[in-house]
Amino acid sequence: MENVLVKKDKQLSSGNGVEKPLQKRLEVLKTYKLYIGGKFPRTESGRYYLAENKKGEKLANMCLGSRKDFREAVVAARNAFGDWGSRSAFNRGQILYRIAEMLEGRKAQFIDEIIKQDNTLEEAKLEVDVAIDRLIYYAGWCDKFQQIYSAVNPVASSHFNFSSPEPTGVVSLIAPQNSSLIGMVSVIAPIIAGGNTCIVLPSFSKPLCAVTFAEVLNSSDLPGGVVNIITGKVKELLPYFSDHMDVNAIAYCEKNEEDKKLIQDKASLNMKRTQFYNTKNWLSDQGQSPYFIMDFQEIKTTWHPIENIGGTKGGY
């Protein structure tokens, strides 16, 4: 087969011995879209922005997401919460592990995108490796953090009294803006490991991996709507991420004090659980901890009467 091809090429080559292709093939480039409810829609606003790297190379036309995209994403996240939040912790762990597997399989693509977005090959390789390991880390924690953070409480009545963590609900997340992949993965993983669903605003200047990561999520048995990704401007979308009454918690991973003030102000409308992460280096071990899971858990305490449990006689 190879011989035939070679022969053919020779016939097509020009007389001077230099082989030229007859015409340059047009590359089929990916359209970078949003990820809402397990689907990849374009932004309803019809707005786009050009993602460029520091060398001025044009990387992609990204969707400039709008408040209505966010609204749709909240609806999707709320619908998905019932199922995801009530799945067994073990099953959530399996799915997080599956995400890691899918990411491993597409390593090359992520490395390529990270390099395009101003990183060296070594940096890119490290970032993808850490992201995969981080998913495995939280996959493991899925069915273990509950035991560690639960308690049996001493009470002065005949009750069995215990406290255990439960997911908060829908979380909106402003991902670290200076990293393409690892920042976003480090915050998404603990949120969904704990049974929450989320709407993510990834890096504005380095948005490529976010959309590719959505493709990974979409092929990982993760139900649609558990993670929704909207590319766009922090300044524009932050008010809606903060004040939507159907969002139960918000995570902000930047340092702008004005933004923080705005979030605190608006999140108080419905008492959102508010988390500010100032972790500089998500690549280090500081970027992972079961406490990140606990940041989006609520503690439920149950009083269970035990005076005559199961109809048995008194024990004295």
Binding site: V74, Y240, D243, H244, M245, D246, N270
Partner: protein, 304 residues
């Protein structure tokens, strides 16, 4: 307009419906954009047109009381909201509902005639209707015999409606066609014609127990039947789409359609109703969004 002499037409000659045309037209209506004050006014009108409904085997006195309270107090923190038009319950709950909505101007509608299947003897259906009315129902929602209709027994269906109408006395009669079981638009049109000539005050799409329930295209077919009937006889008939309308946006599309096909005279709860249970909360959420500028969550609205 003076009432003309009504002659009963041959229902097998009811107009045939152009399915593609109806669907296209219904689809175009969804492309209208209604914003700001118009939207707020539209939403308030929607609230005022709702028949707040609970029709479940597990309905209890408590559930009906709660719903009736909600009907009269949609949202006390939002001043000057209208109430819904009516509450819609089973005959056994009419007395309770009647007592609860006393003095609020809200009507009590009761389903009757062996709802939802309608598979019973005529005398049972009439007794069912009389019972609902004697308990205090202001409106009766009856079902037609779909099986007989599909067999082509149009006279049977016609007579049944006419007798139930008589049993209603002063109560207004809504006739449920259960369009999901009639299969084609031609049959929906024919059933609409039969119901209107037999004395219906309202025609209604569905029981809410069969999918598909109300859709924009099927409502369009029925609205056109009402319009044609009005031109022929000078008599206004009401319309009530029911089942599956749970979002404000969709409800506004319905209003646009009514306004276009029938005109402003029909744009009030005497002539148009929504049969719905969860629509009210969605409308309230949209109204609060317009008022506060903040997207709302259902955790902060009363359970309906």
């Amino acid at each position: 307009m003076p009432q003309k002499m009504i002659t009963i037409p041959d229902f097998s000659l009811s107009p045939r419906i152009d399915k593609t045309g109806i669907e296209e037209r219904a689809d175009r209506i969804t492309k209208r954009s209604i914003k700001k004050e118009t939207k707020v006014n539209g939403l308030k009108l929607v609230l005022n047109m709702i028949d707040l409904t609970t029709l479940e085997g597990k309905d209890t006195e408590g559930k009906v009381k709660q719903m009736c309270y909600k009907a009269a107090h949609l949202m006390d923190t939002y001043p000057e909201l209208p109430t819904v038009a009516a509450v819609c319950v089973y005959p056994s709950m009419v007395a309770i509902a009647k007592k609860m909505v006393e003095g609020t101007g809200i009507n009590v509608a009761s389903v009757a005639t062996a709802f939802p299947s309608g598979q019973s003897a005529l005398k049972v259906k009439l007794a069912d209707t009389r019972y609902a009315v004697s308990e205090g129902a202001d409106e009766v929602d009856m079902v037609i015999s779909r099986g007989k209709f599909l067999e082509g027994e149009y006279n049977f269906v016609f007579d049944e409606i006419a007798q139930v109408k008589e049993a209603c006395g002063n109560a207004r009669l809504k006739v449920i066609l259960e369009t999901g079981e009639l299969i084609t638009f031609d049959k929906v049109r024919r059933a609409s014609d039969i119901a209107m000539y037999a004395g219906a005050d309202f025609i209604k799409t569905s029981t809410g127990k069969i999918a598909p329930a109300a859709t924009l295209p099927v409502t369009l077919v029925m609205l056109e039947a009402i319009r044609d009937f009005y031109y022929k006889t000078g008599k206004m008939i009401g319309m009530k789409p029911a089942g599956g309308i749970s979002k404000s946006k969709l409800a506004l599309h319905y209003l646009v359609m009514v306004n276009e096909i029938l005109g402003e005279e029909w744009m009030n709860n005497h002539w148009f109703r929504f049969g719905a249970s969860s629509l009210a909360n969605d409308v309230l959420m949209q109204l609060m969004k317009e008022k506060t500028g903040v997207y709302q969550g259902k955790d902060y609205f009363a359970i309906d």
